[in-house]
């Protein structure tokens, strides 16, 4: 079975978003600010990696070249990855992990994931619809975690407020990539397989603005910057992430436990 290339690419994008963010969040494992948060982030990471597994397995099946989810996750190179650039950015700035950056990314992406999975549970691709129905529940919990922290840290101390606003200002330009139209998305939306992400923007704006207001944070101004991760053109950070994530699987191809 070989599906339409746009269909394969679209499912790969969804899988890569989950995989790359899952890998980033997993970096917090054992380093969380408190035990409870360490577990919370690891749970979210595991949910995302579970979604990635289902999505990449589906992409491999659609492709029909016998590649399974492990091969897609661990044997592809940087330009083959189709995640939004936002997902691959480090957990902090420079060498310092920053909870403000981590939570703010989960918040910005989580608001969209919640809407996206809801919409995709109506997909004409029954496998994708089933994955989406499951992911909708997980995304709800991820969203609650991120938005509760946005409010508490944004409307917290002077320092926490300042750091959350800085994180929001830093990450906001990368959200523009969510909405940039492209032929892949157009094709899958027309076929009822996917959704035009831009159609979710009013709902995303409303959700995000409501939380930002409670968090006393200021929505940054729109930016002209457009990242292009979903087209395979990434920031300098993805290569390092993949090197760490893939090294074991590449040293021992096909290993299992």
């Amino acid at each position: 079975m070989t599906a339409d290339p746009a269909h394969i690419d679209y499912v790969t994008r969804l899988g890569d978003n989950a995989l790359v963010l899952g890998q980033r969040l997993a970096e917090w494992c054992g380093h969380g600010p408190v035990l409870e948060e360490d577990l919370a982030l690891t749970n979210i990471a595991l949910d995302l990696i579970g979604q990635a597994r289902l999505l990449l397995a589906h992409a491999g099946a659609l492709e029909g070249r016998g590649r399974n989810e492990d091969e897609l996750a661990f044997q592809r190179d940087e330009p083959d990855f189709r995640n939004w650039t936002l997902m691959e950015l480090p957990n902090g700035v420079g060498k310092h992990d920053d909870y403000a950056i981590t939570i703010t990314r989960n918040f910005l992406a989580g608001a969209l994931h919640k809407l996206l999975w809801q919409a995709l549970s109506q997909s004409s691709d029954p496998e994708l619809a089933a994955i989406a129905a499951r992911a909708t529940k997980e995304a709800g919990a991820h969203w609650r975690h991120a938005s509760e922290w946005m409010v508490r840290l944004g409307d917290g101390t002077e320092l926490s407020h300042q750091r959350m606003q800085a994180a929001l200002d830093r990450l906001w330009p990368y959200t523009e990539e969510f909405w940039t139209p492209d032929p892949i998305e157009k094709a899958v939306a027309a076929a009822g397989i996917g959704v035009a992400t831009a159609s979710l923007r009013p709902a995303w704006d409303a959700t995000v603005d409501e939380v930002l207001a409670r968090a006393t944070l200021v929505r940054p101004r729109a930016s002209e910057f457009r990242s292009t991760g979903k087209l395979g053109s990434h920031s300098e950070h993805l290569g390092f992430l993949l090197a760490e994530m893939q090294s074991l699987a590449r040293q021992h191809p096909g290993a299992s436990w």
Partner: protein
Amino acid sequence: MSDKSTQWPLWEVFLRSKQGLDHRHCGSLHAVDAAMALQMARDVYTRRMEGVSIWVVPSAAITASAPEDKAIDFDPMADKIYRHPTFYRLPDEVDHM
């Protein structure tokens, strides 16, 4: 919190493992407030489907009996066997007694 300590307040977590059973104490955690305590209780204590309902209670709200009163509180019951319903046979259908 008026507490100057940088440690978040402690919460006791109670889980109902399935419908019809009581909530049971399963542990404690630190959280900034009640909503976060619930969120964290989910992450810490229900990862393996242990529960269908969660209660969190500020640990400070619990008044506990003192360990040094153990003798006064509990020892007098040790020799009152007639208070135990050991003379009844429970039907098999009655679980969790």
